[in-house]
């Protein structure tokens, strides 16, 4: 699919003047953005900026205070939650008493299964081949995250809403998330991912939606400031400003440690702020 094809269809997700307030205290917005098929968009903001709340609003779990959400051109209402969305939230949605495979089987029954994949292959796809029969309570936080990612991978949906998909994951896990996101984008899906500044998406330049608490939005909070804070957060942040398709995939594979590919900047806690700064639009 060429990009022009993708943009002819209605956007996977559109938000118009979307705002949310809890007890009259504004959490975020008003926001205007759209997400087309084949796109990965990064929502960034500090802790408490409302990233998770935004994802919950977009998934339909929370009703927006004002504004409108359209999924594939149709308005989203609470009464008709869209079957086209998979949400990965902070709570994994996994039962500690059940094994990884049992959890995925349940999810497959509840949400359906994407063509060409089964709970077992999804589990293998997130690098947990030998863990099918291990109760989820015995898995580490990162492994639980992988099972939750397998659940998202399994669901036959176009739009992924991933809240901090990189949290708790090792370098392999970060590469895995990038690979999953890229494959999903290549088959015409879209994804919104949140990150508190430090971001690890390596394939192409994702569009970014900066999200800030309402007070700060008036005091000129710049992207560069975010870049600096991410570099000093001590979280490995990788950025690959350019690169598409297979080329970017190869970079994603090689990117994490080496950081040698043209235009691939690997920023760690000690890297200069400019390394992450280059990735800012």
């Amino acid at each position: 699919m060429s990009p022009s094809d993708l943009h002819d269809r209605p956007a996977l997700l559109e938000a118009h003047a979307l705002a949310f307030a809890r007890n009259d205290e504004p959490i975020f917005g008003p926001l205007d953005f759209s997400l087309h098929a084949g796109e990965v968009v990064l929502i960034e903001g500090d802790n408490g900026a409302g990233k998770s709340t935004l994802l919950r609003v977009l998934s339909g779990l929370l009703a927006p205070t004002s504004g409108e959400i359209r999924l594939n051109g149709e308005p989203l209402t609470l009464a008709r939650l869209s079957p086209q969305v998979a949400l990965l939230s902070h709570q994994s949605g996994l039962k500690p008493e059940l094994t990884a495979l049992e959890n995925l089987r349940f999810s497959a029954g509840l949400h359906g299964v994407r063509k060409g994949i089964s709970p077992a292959t999804a589990l293998a796809g997130v690098g947990l081949e030998g863990y099918a029969d291990v109760p989820t309570r015995q898995l580490s936080a990162g492994q639980k995250k992988r099972v939750a990612l397998a659940r998202v991978l399994l669901a036959p949906v176009g739009l992924w809403l991933l809240d901090e998909p990189y949290a708790n994951l090792d370098l392999d896990g970060i590469k895995l998330v990038n690979r999953l996101l890229e494959n999903h984008a290549n088959r015409g899906g879209g994804a919104l991912i949140t990150s508190h500044g430090a971001y690890a998406y390596t394939s192409g330049t994702p569009r970014r939606i900066p999200l800030r608490p309402s007070e700060q939005s008036r005091s000129g909070f710049s992207h560069d400031a975010l870049g600096v804070s991410s570099a000093s957060n001590g979280i490995a942040a990788e950025a690959a400003p350019t690169g598409t398709g297979a080329e970017a995939e190869a970079e994603a594979e090689a990117g994490a440690g080496a950081g040698t590919g043209t235009g691939t900047a690997t920023a760690t806690a000690t890297a200069s702020p400019s390394a992450t700064g280059t990735s800012a639009p």
Binding site: L61, L78, L81, S92, G93, K95, E97, G109, L110, H111
Partner: protein, 227 residues
């Protein structure tokens, strides 16, 4: 990319909840032990005269089972809420009310049905009268699903709060009282040799109404709790 069928989703949910009950089967015994303890304390407190105990037998068993059910009610959505699977349930493409009806049915099967099965034994502990022996389980069969459905709505409303146990009890008891009055009323009528069918039919009518309406109320309440 098509979501699976609704019946497959219900089957998956029922299978998962039954598996969970089996994995936590120690917890499932709690309501039974509670009811057994409460009922066996009455003869100790009131003295062992069969005539005394016979008079209160049906009422005591009814109250003990109602309270035991209240004890188990909190587990209905609690763990699902805490681990986020309730979110996934709400986000599934299938009618939430139907999925919740399945959950409530499994909950009733695994908490209330064992209580009904031991009710005759509890009755014997209190020298239950001959005619009541069969009316009591019949009344419980109609009353306990009604209690589960009413309780589920209240639990759904409070699941987002911490330590909501007392609040649930306060919300639920006014709804439980009519059920208790009709259920125990049928038993008392049978004991007095009066017709007992009318209160049972009232319970049945209320159960049908709750079966239709409670899952919808429960779904709406859960959506409020999650927001």
């Amino acid at each position: 990319m098509k979501p699976g069928s609704t019946s497959a989703a219900c089957a998956a949910l029922i299978r998962r909840d039954l598996t969970l009950v089996w994995r936590r089967r120690g917890d499932a015994l709690n309501p039974i032990l509670f009811a057994l303890i409460v009922v066996s304390l009455f003869p100790l407190a009131l003295g062992p005269e069969p005539d005394n105990l016979r008079r209160i037998a049906a009422g005591v068993v009814f109250v003990a089972l109602l309270l035991a059910g209240l004890l188990a009610l909190d587990t209905l959505f609690r763990s699902d809420y805490e681990d986020g699977s309730l979110e996934q349930l709400v986000l599934s493409p299938h009618p939430l009310s139907l999925l919740l009806a399945c959950k409530i049915a499994v909950h009733w099967l695994t908490t209330a049905l064992p209580l009904i099965l031991i009710a005759p034994l509890l009755g014997e502990l209190l020298h239950i009268a001959e005619p009541v022996r069969w009316v009591l389980p019949a009344a419980l069969l109609l009353a306990t699903p009604l209690l589960s459905l009413l309780g589920a709505v209240c639990v759904a409303l409070t699941v987002g709060m911490h330590r909501s146990g007392m609040l649930v009890a306060l919300l639920v008891l006014p709804l439980y009282v009519p059920v208790l009055i009709f259920g125990a009323g049928a038993c008392n009528a049978a004991q007095a040799g009066l017709p007992f069918l009318a209160p049972l039919l009232w319970l049945g009518a209320a159960l049908v109404l709750a079966l239709v309406l409670a899952p919808f109320a429960c779904a709406a309440a859960l959506r409020i709790s999650l927001s």
